[in-house]
Every structure is written in structure tokens, then in C-alpha cells.
């Protein structure tokens, strides 16, 4: 089957830094940390996690009630991101609604806050009398994709990967394949999640949540650092619009970058501990799909959540394939782990780095952990002419994803 080239012409973001991709990129560029101390710990217990990257002051009330009534916050944020991406790409209304545009938008789960509300009504007497119909549309697993589809009037394919923290990058990869192989002419892809204390609590059960920096939120998470102590959960929504370079040129849309490769594989060895060899294999398969060698990659944007096991495995996988020549950094030190949004928000940051020719360092990386050594960690910004970026996302359940971005040469 003939494979078409796939470019990105629109981006949209809502992040702990606020609404808009530009705001997020400005915050990243100035080294800000969007993690804050919460009023309450994630759960009742000694030294429970009490930091997160939460969204403040983003208003979704201008979304028409007919659509907003079915939206939990993450769907609202994603709709704002969708409008931003589509406006940037200047996609005509009849293209959005006529079947040529598809969606691929994942979240780790439906709205946990809405689940909580339903069960508060249901459990006391096992009664559904007070459970409103709208609640279901907020807690179903494909709530974000379905809500964006309804609100935009999309009649192309609607995909909703629920692959935990890989959901965003996997959704972009699925969208890339849909455009590359001619299934859709345009795909709006990415991921979203909204913060709930159960996220932090769940990571903490597995000793993977940061709990040692509750009084110094700006110092966590600390990817690859000797003193890292786990994930800082966060929320956000990130989307990219994909199409062919031909359709972009016809419309006069600016090409922000190109996707040239993607791979996703299962790590069957563990639900929680990535196998460095399977990290390596995923990146190698992504290179194969792009017909590139490891030496072609100019920068690696790591998943790097700040956990003890995950950061070490990713470092070892990168070192095995790339050695210590390629600059590596992760972006979760800036705003925490935005879960399903992270792969998409970080892809947007990668596009910016491709275009601007500078690389963001890993924030809070002060002392490289021995088990994370063997790769060239960026601890300060670096000006560099970048052609190819490899971006990783990994998830509980053993879902590995690697995406390859190329600077636009058209």
C-alpha cells in the first residue's frame, strides 16, 4: 500500500500553564514549573502526595450548553484545544464535518470525579434515582473523543485509545497511520486527562508517586535525577492536526513539522516495570518505519516521569540504541505528568524545538542518577540544528510508543 507523507499544520493545548500552545511554550522556554502544592493531600495518610500540575482559570463556559452538558473538564479543555488547532490550520467547516476529518483522542480513563459523583448517589441505597443522564457521557472511556466529535460535528472515524500514559502519543500514531494509508485526509489527534486525587493515590500505592517534595513543589518531579521520588500527576489536553503536505499546500497552511515514523509495541514482561530491551525495540521499530538509522536522530524527547524504575529502564534502552551521543531530555519536570495529554503536549514542544533550533533541558535534573547515566542528558538549554526528533511514551500495562518527527523542508 502506498504510504503518504503526513505533516502537522495545527496544534492546540491546555496545560497547567493555562490555555493555548503559545502560553505553554513560553513557560517551557523560560524554565517555569507548573507544579503546585494542593490544599489537601491525595488521601488520608502519613506523608501522602500533595503536589500536582493542575489547570487554573481556564473557562469552558462559552461552549454551548448542548455540548458542555456532557463534558467533564477534560472534554472541555480538549474542545478548546481542538478549536485552537483547527483555527491555526484554517481547516474549512465543510472539511471538518464532511467526513474527511477523523479524530483520535485518548484519555487514561473517563472522568473519575464523575464516577465518584455517581457512586455517591448510587451506593447508599443502590438507587439510581438521583443519577443524571449526563453523568454517563462524562465517565465513559471514550468521553473526550465522543464529546469533541459531537461538538465539532465530525463524521469521519472517531478513535479513542485508552492506553494509560501512552494514550496521547499512541493516538497521534494511530492518526498518522490513518492519514499515511489514506483512510482519512485529516486527523485531529492527541490526549487529555483531568486531575483527581486518585491518580496520585494510585501511583503512590505502587510507590511511584512523588511525596518528598510536598513543601517544595517546584523541585518535583525530577526525571533522571539521583533524588527523584516519583510521578507528579497533572492534567491537560493536547492536540495536533495531521494531513498530507499536498493538502496543506493547496490550502496555504503552514507546515509545522512532519511525522515520518511510529511504532507501538507491548511490553509483556511487567505491568509496571519497563524492560530496557523492549524500550530499545520500540525505538528501533520507529526508526525502521521512517527508514532512519540511530545516527539520524538529533534529539530524544524521553517519557521520563521521574520514577525510579521507569527512568532507569528508558535511559538504559536509549543508551543501548543511541549510546551517549544524542541529547536527551524529558519535559515532565516543567508541569508534571499530564497523563494522556503528555505525549501530545510534549509533541507540540518537540515541534517548537524543531522549528526554533534549540533544545529544552530536563528541569530539576541536578545530579544524574547512576542508573540513568550512559546517555547525554541535557541539563541546560542547547542551541542545535535539529532535523529528526524521536519522542517516547510508555504506560502501565506495558504500552510502548515511539514517534519520529522531522523538521519541515518543503
Amino acid at each position: 500500500m502506498q504510504k503518504r507523507r503526513v505533516v502537522i499544520t495545527g496544534t492546540g493545548a491546555v496545560s497547567p500553564f493555562g490555555k493555548g500552545a503559545e502560553r505553554m511554550l513560553a513557560a517551557l522556554g523560560s524554565g517555569q514549573n507548573g507544579v503546585t502544592r494542593l490544599p489537601e493531600p491525595a488521601y488520608a495518610g502519613d506523608n501522602a502526595p500533595q503536589v500536582a500540575g493542575v489547570i487554573r482559570d481556564v473557562d469552558i463556559s462559552d461552549i454551548p450548553r448542548k455540548h458542555r452538558r456532557c463534558m467533564s473538564p477534560m472534554s472541555g479543555y480538549t474542545f478548546l484545544a481542538a478549536r485552537e488547532a483547527l483555527e491555526q490550520a484554517d481547516l474549512p467547516e465543510d472539511t471538518i464535518t464532511g467526513g474527511r476529518l477523523g479524530l483520535s483522542i485518548g484519555s487514561t480513563v473517563g472522568s473519575i470525579g464523575e464516577f465518584e459523583a455517581v457512586f455517591q448517589e448510587y451506593l447508599p441505597a443502590h438507587s439510581m434515582d438521583k443519577v443524571k443522564s449526563m453523568m454517563f457521557f462524562k465517565l465513559m472511556s471514550h468521553s473526550v473523543a465522543a464529546n469533541v466529535s459531537q461538538a465539532l460535528g465530525v463524521s469521519g472515524r472517531v478513535l479513542a485509545a485508552a492506553s494509560a500514559c501512552s494514550s496521547g502519543l499512541q493516538s497521534i500514531g494511530l492518526g498518522y497511520e490513518a492519514v499515511a494509508y489514506g483512510m482519512q485526509d485529516y486527523m485531529l489527534c492527541g490526549g487529555a486527562d483531568e486531575y483527581h486525587p486518585l491518580f496520585s493515590a494510585t501511583f503512590d500505592i505502587m510507590a511511584a508517586a512523588s511525596r518528598g517534595y510536598n513543601d517544595a513543589p517546584e523541585r518535583t518531579p525530577r526525571p533522571f535525577d539521583r533524588d527523584r521520588d516519583g510521578v507528579v500527576c497533572a492534567e491537560g489536553a493536547g492536540l495536533v492536526l495531521l494531513e498530507t503536505p499536498e493538502s496543506a499546500r493547496e490550502r496555504g497552511a503552514e507546515i509545522l513539522g512532519e511525522i515520518t515514523g511510529f511504532a507501538t509495541i507491548g511490553d509483556h514482561t511487567s505491568m509496571t516495570s519497563p524492560d530496557p530491551q523492549l524500550v530499545r525495540r520500540c525505538m528501533q521499530e520507529a526508526l525502521d518505519t521512517a527508514a532512519l538509522a540511530p545516527s539520524d536522530i538529533d534529539y530524544i524527547n524521553a517519557h521520563a516521569t521521574g520514577t525510579l524504575l521507569g527512568d532507569a529502564a528508558e535511559s538504559q534502552g536509549i543508551a543501548a540504541l543511541f549510546g551517549d551521543n544524542v541529547p536527551v531530555s524529558g519535559l515532565k519536570g516543567y508541569m508534571g505528568h499530564t497523563m494522556a495529554a503528555s505525549g501530545a503536549l510534549e509533541t507540540i514542544a518537540c515541534l517548537h524545538m524543531l522549528r526554533e533550533g534549540f533544545l529544552l533541558p530536563t528541569l530539576n535534573l541536578e545530579n544524574i542518577a547512576e542508573e540513568c547515566s550512559g546517555v547525554r542528558h541535557l541539563t541546560t538549554p542547547e542551541i542545535k540544528d535539529v532535523t529528526h526528533i524521536l519522542k517516547n511514551s510508555f504506560a502501565f500495562g506495558g504500552i510502548n510508543c515511539s514517534l519520529i518527527l522531522r523538521r519541515n523542508h518543503d
Binding site: K66, K130, S133
Partner: protein
């Protein structure tokens, strides 16, 4: 609570729940065509009035005949007054 107070409270609950600010609520207003509500709103309207007036509506087939605001007022008045006299 007088019938007029019940009607006023019904209208206030509708305006708040379904964001009807700025719309003129006339007795002959059609819930779907004039007020922009739909079948999903009707489902949640049951819970809204059950909680607002401490009445039981459930899956009462009589609600299917409600088309206008006046129909709704009469239905709610009937339920509230029946509760008061029970």
C-alpha cells in the same frame, strides 16, 4: 406554598439548570422548539423536579404528554398538591 410560588420555583429551576437566561418563559412556550430542550434534558428534568419539590415522578407515563411550559406547570402542581394532601 401557593400555586404561583410553585410556578415561579419551577421556572427558576428550569432557568438555572438549563441556562435559559434571556428567554421569555410564556405558558404556551414549547419546551423543545421554543426553549431548546431535548429528550436528554427531559430525563434530567425528572430528577430536577423530584429534588426541587420532594415529589416522585420516576417513569410516570403522564410526563410524555408534557409539551408546553403550561403542561409542565400543571403536572408539577398536581404532584406537589397531591403530596400536600396525602
Amino acid at each position: 406554598m401557593t400555586n404561583q410560588e410553585i410556578i415561579t420555583q419551577t421556572n427558576e429551576a428550569l432557568v438555572q439548570e438549563f441556562e435559559l437566561e434571556g428567554l421569555e418563559l410564556k405558558p404556551e412556550s414549547l419546551l423543545y422548539e421554543d426553549l431548546g430542550l431535548d429528550s436528554l434534558d427531559s430525563v434530567d428534568m425528572v430528577i430536577l423536579f423530584e429534588q426541587s419539590f420532594d415529589i416522585k415522578i420516576g417513569k410516570d407515563p403522564d410526563i410524555l404528554a408534557i409539551k408546553t411550559l403550561n403542561d409542565l406547570h400543571n403536572y408539577v402542581l398536581g404532584k406537589v398538591n397531591a403530596r400536600k394532601s396525602a
